[in-house]
């Protein structure tokens, strides 16, 4: 199957400053997260995908068609920018209706679609209030509403969760997942890694304008198996557990956290470690409260890959 979004050798400079360099990427339906620190090139990539920037080299295609100067494509694409971009004097409904008119919908259709979108982002009750009176969370949600109102197939969301309170975040995450379940292609950028973990495991790590890794977070984690895995076990008998495990040859390091009654193991063979742990749990009266992998998150993966 042809990828929905294709980037071929995409490069873009801002004068002498590199935006992105030789990005080759294929994105399929589902949620794909672009991860990287500020200035990594995520927004540049998204601006090229949404036709606002022209790549110096290479090209971006959506549904097999070139993006640049191809206004037809934009009917099938929704973009949520990182910055606030509103007409503050308009009501939420008017703001959305006005933008929908740009697609060629009649006024009645625009209002109907705007109302539906506001309903989806749970802003229907404040639809007639001026945008200037909206809270941070509401503003973020109406930005998403303007991106989804025309029912696009591809959603490009630049930092959609930034600045939101936990409740609003949960709402937006739920909404994005619903779009994923509807078979849409969603590209989301973020530098707040736990937020992305809640959304998808399909990640593209960008650093200094280049893709340094892509795929499933756990798959990437396996790629860097040379780096030891950290496993933290919380148990009242954490010292007894450490004593039992100490003889295993795949264990590289142990560290105690007495205040939490926990021990942190470092191993280069996670599978063997867990097999042995299972045996221990079955054969002895050890009680374990919690097992976590402190470095099995995106921040750790990112840090490893960029060599921090």
């Amino acid at each position: 199957m042809t990828a929905i979004i294709e980037a071929r050798n995409l490069s873009r400079w801002y004068g002498n400053v590199l935006g992105i360099s030789e990005i080759n990427l294929e994105i399929n339906p589902g949620i794909t997260a672009l991860l990287g620190p500020n200035g990594a090139g995520k927004s540049t990539f998204m601006k090229i995908l949404t036709g606002q920037l022209k790549a110096n080299i290479g090209e971006a295609r959506i549904f097999g068609e070139k993006v640049w100067n191809n206004r037809r494509i934009f009917s099938r694409l929704g973009f949520c920018p990182e910055d606030d971009a509103f007409y503050e004097d308009l009501s939420g409904l008017e703001f959305l209706s006005g933008l929908l008119s740009l697609y060629g919908f009649s006024q009645a259709e625009s209002r109907q679609k705007a109302s539906q979108a506001l309903d989806l982002v749970e802003l229907a009750d404040v639809a007639d209030r001026q945008v200037r009176s909206y809270s941070r969370g509401m503003r973020q949600r109406i930005k998403i509403a303007q991106a989804i109102a025309h029912d696009p197939e591809v959603l490009i969301l630049d930092e959609p969760l930034s600045g939101l309170d936990p409740l609003s975040k949960r709402r937006i995450i739920k909404l994005i997942k619903e779009f994923k379940n509807a078979g849409k292609t969603i590209v989301i950028s973020s530098h707040i890694l736990p937020e992305v973990e809640a959304l998808t495991s399909e990640i593209v790590l960008i650093h200094q304008g280049k893709i340094i890794a892509r795929g499933d977070i756990y798959f990437i984690r396996d790629l860097i198996d040379t780096h030891p895995h950290m496993i933290r076990i919380k148990s009242a008998q954490y010292r007894q557990l450490a004593t039992t495990m100490a003889g295993e040859d795949y264990l590289l390091k142990m560290a105690f956290e007495p205040e939490d009654q926990a021990v942190v193991f470092e191993t280069h063979d996670r599978d063997r470690f867990f097999n042995r742990l299972n045996e221990l749990l079955l054969s002895s009266p050890l009680a374990i409260d919690e097992i976590t992998s402190p470095d099995d998150n995106l921040q750790a993966v990112f840090d490893y890959l960029v060599g921090k």
Binding site: F79, G98, G183
Partner: protein, 290 residues
């Protein structure tokens, strides 16, 4: 590099709508926002006062017998001829009203979009740069057009109606074309002027300062230049003087300044062209589709 996983795809059920008037929603929103601004409606209504006075003059001019007590010594003022229409379209009060209204409702047309980074919302949609600029220009065209072109044409029709004959039309068969041409030039000039000013700053207050500053500074410059050189060409520095000179050419009446009217016409045309290039460049500066 990635592991294989199942993914579903539902075919898009939307439709492509080919809309040749994509600019109109932008104009409509701009007009609506302008009317929503404080004092705008009042200012807009008062801006029709000169047109109403001119309408009364037309009425009186056709009923001179009934209004002898007013008309004494004012015959020249009550003559409805090409100069009458030219004087309406070159009223300083009218230009001032346009500047006031456009500083309220037009200064932020581009400046606000730059400030709020709203341009990216437009260009992530099926919209070209021409649509965008035409949409913004449409707001100024609407207001300046309803204050110049529309009243001037209505005054002409009123004159024909009150006269009850086609004598006036037959005397000046070209007059309606002069009204159209002159009004369009004024509309075009103010559209270029306001959009240019609006593209020069992200702050609408600075834009308002630019609009009034440039307009009145051009008058001051004309005065200084005339004081030094004593040349009628000093009028080329002034915005209103140039518009008056061009209007005189269009209406085939004696120009207020002693130099060919087409010099002013060329200058105004050049200004509009340069303004277009600058505005186009400024919008391009925020990275949009050509």
């Amino acid at each position: 590099m990635t592991s294989i996983r199942e993914k579903g795809y539902h075919h898009w059920e939307g439709q492509f709508l080919d809309n040749p008037r994509t600019f109109w929603p932008i104009s409509r929103t701009g007009i609506k926002l302008a009317f929503g601004r404080k004092h705008f409606k009042l200012g807009y209504t008062f801006s029709f006062l000169p047109a109403m006075i001119y309408a009364v003059i037309i009425y009186i001019s056709e009923r001179l017998e009934d209004f002898k007590f007013i008309a004494q010594g004012g015959d020249k003022l009550l003559q409805v001829n090409p100069d009458f229409f030219k004087s309406y379209l070159t009223l300083d009060l009218l230009y001032f009203a346009i500047l006031i209204l456009m500083s309220i409702g037009g200064a932020g047309l581009l400046a606000d979009d730059f400030r709020h980074k709203a341009v990216q919302l437009y260009f992530a949609r099926p919209l070209t740069k021409a649509d965008y600029l035409l949409g913004k220009a449409g707001v100024i065209i609407f207001f300046t057009g309803t204050l110049t072109l529309v009243p001037a044409v209505l005054l002409y029709i009123l004159k024909l109606l009150f006269a009850g004959s086609f004598a006036f039309f037959l005397d000046y068969p070209w007059l309606i074309l002069s009204i159209l041409a002159c009004s369009l030039l004024i509309v075009l000039f103010f559209t270029a002027f306001i959009l240019l000013a609006s593209s020069l700053s992200n702050n609408r207050n600075y834009v308002i300062s630019i609009i009034f500053g440039v307009y009145f500074f051009s008058e001051i410059l004309r005065g200084i230049s005339f004081a030094i050189f004593r040349s009628p060409l000093s009028a080329l520095f002034s915005i209103s003087a140039n518009l008056k000179q061009v209007a005189a050419g269009f209406f085939q009446v004696k120009p207020p300044y002693n130099y060919p009217w087409y010099l002013s016409f060329l200058l105004v045309s050049l200004f509009c062209f340069l303004a277009y290039l600058i505005v186009k460049h400024k919008v391009r500066g925020v990275e949009v589709i050509k």
